[in-house]
Amino acid sequence: MDTVISVRDLVVYYGERKILKEVCMEVERGEIMVIMGGSGSGKSTLLRHLLSLEKPRSGSITMLDREISSASRRELLEVRKKIGVAFQFGALLSSLSVGENILLPLQEHTRLDQATMEVMLRLKLEVVGLAGFENLMPAELSGGMTKRAALARAIIMDPQLLFLDEPSAGLDPVVAAALDDLILQLRDATGMTLVVVTHELESAFKIADRITVLDQGDIVASGTVDEVRNNKSERVQNLLNRRSEERVTDVDAYLERLTGTRID
């Protein structure tokens, strides 16, 4: 198996706060890797760096055999043509119809004629179950449909690597389960590699080949579904069993926060 993504010692700061602490992870070709973690765990930050929307403080990210944290604009473009991304809230361009949104990457990066593009559009709409909806505007879609349309746009270029940000968040259980099935079918049909960021446990266990658990900027567990499930670490078990974290109370720090002054 070859490695599609390799992250080495990724460190990210927002201002003074260290968001990611020497994160290392690898994604193999053809697998579904789920990045899991609670709110504020750093999983969205990790995703933004994988998509090179932001530059890390230090560390390296290699994707499809290219070092992307130091890549030139042209190299980055070549990588981006081979990946697809579906954002949490769809991020469809609101001024274009669903069909125009999905066709956008084809129009910008290929020289296919209009008829071929239309066929590809209908093909992908069939795949995500939105056939016949290409003339609607994004504002007219429901939450689940928006996510499906975003998925169709992400796979229109037949990417080798697909990123999904919270694919089932905010959907009712039936629609969420259908979307999970769709993700599995998609991988089986195309053999593409998927990186899924989610905090939904059920969905994660259903679709994942391997899971990486992030907590407060650290990777606390990484492995197959069973390995993560049986992980003894308290932080992992808290996340898996929906237990609230025991807060460690430092009396002095607590008083300082309350009074707003330093206590010596």
Binding site: L53, R80, F87, S94, P105
Partner: protein, 262 residues
């Protein structure tokens, strides 16, 4: 006191960084306009046309109304002032030069700042909040090439054209008033205007409107791209972009006139 000084410092740095951002946006837009086709990433003509329609053609009715009023107003004031010297017949000189050199580029600039600059800020701001800019970036579509460069090109073409059209309308408005008030025929008035007007005066006005156009786009885009805080934030940057654009237009106008009229 310390907080006051800190605030001044923070605002100054913010202002300087916005200048830097504007320079980058301008450079990148020009880069894509000229180099995009060679890299098979051209700026799409249909987006330029769509923007040009919005900036220029749809603004024509309001340009007519405002500039007609400005022309008439200048004629009234001109005649009123010159009557002191008994020189009403020279009103055409004053009206012609002030319309072409100052009023129509400035009024049209302010109008377009209100219509298009604010729309651009709101559009870019909304797209940023909805992650649409990120989506474009990860699809390998540079937002500056896709969104900003067409608007900039359309503005550079349309605002001078609109100002030129505004010149004609304002001069016509002034002519109608002058011919009614002084009994001068419209033909004689037109002859006067053409005799007075030099290419330099016309280009002075149109050159300024080109600069105003660049300012409107850059200020709209920078404000939109720096949006924070959801829907309320969009309202704030929209207002801010209009206020900044109008201030920039008036101040640039003053500097430009100072440098070129001495």
């Amino acid at each position: 006191m310390r907080q006051f000084v800190e605030n001044i410092g923070r605002r100054s740095i913010g202002g300087i960084s916005e200048f830097g951002q504007a320079a980058v946006v301008l450079y990148e837009s020009l880069y894509w306009l000229f180099m995009g086709p060679r890299q098979r990433q051209p700026v799409r003509l249909h987006s330029v046309f769509a923007q040009a329609m919005d900036i220029g053609i749809y603004a024509i009715p309001i340009v007519i109304v405002l500039n007609m009023a400005i022309g008439i107003m200048l004629a009234i004031q001109g005649i009123y002032t010159l009557r002191v010297f008994g020189a009403e017949n020279n009103v055409t000189l004053g009206v012609t030069l002030s319309v072409t050199r100052e009023f129509s580029p400035m009024i049209t600039g302010i109008l377009v700042a209100g219509r298009t600059g604010s729309a651009l800020a709101a559009r870019i701001g909304t797209m940023k909040i909805n992650e649409e800019l990120d989506a474009l970036t990860v699809m390998g579509i540079q937002p500056i090439r896709y969104l900003v460069a067409p608007a900039l090109l359309a503005m550079i073409i349309m605002l001078p054209l609109l100002s030129w059209f505004a010149d004609v309308v304002a001069l016509l408005g002034a002519g109608l008033y002058v011919s009614a008030e002084l009994g001068m025929s419209l033909g004689a008035y037109t002859n006067d205007v053409l005799r007075i007007l030099s290419i330099d005066d016309l280009m002075h006005g149109l050159g300024k409107s080109l600069i105003f156009g660049v300012l409107i786009v850059l200020i709209g885009v920078i404000n939109g791209a720096n949006v924070t805080g959801g829907a309320e934030g969009i309202g704030r940057v929209t207002t801010r972009s209009v206020v900044h654009a109008i201030s920039a237009i008036v101040i640039t106008d003053m500097l430009f006139t100072f440098l070129l009229s001495r």
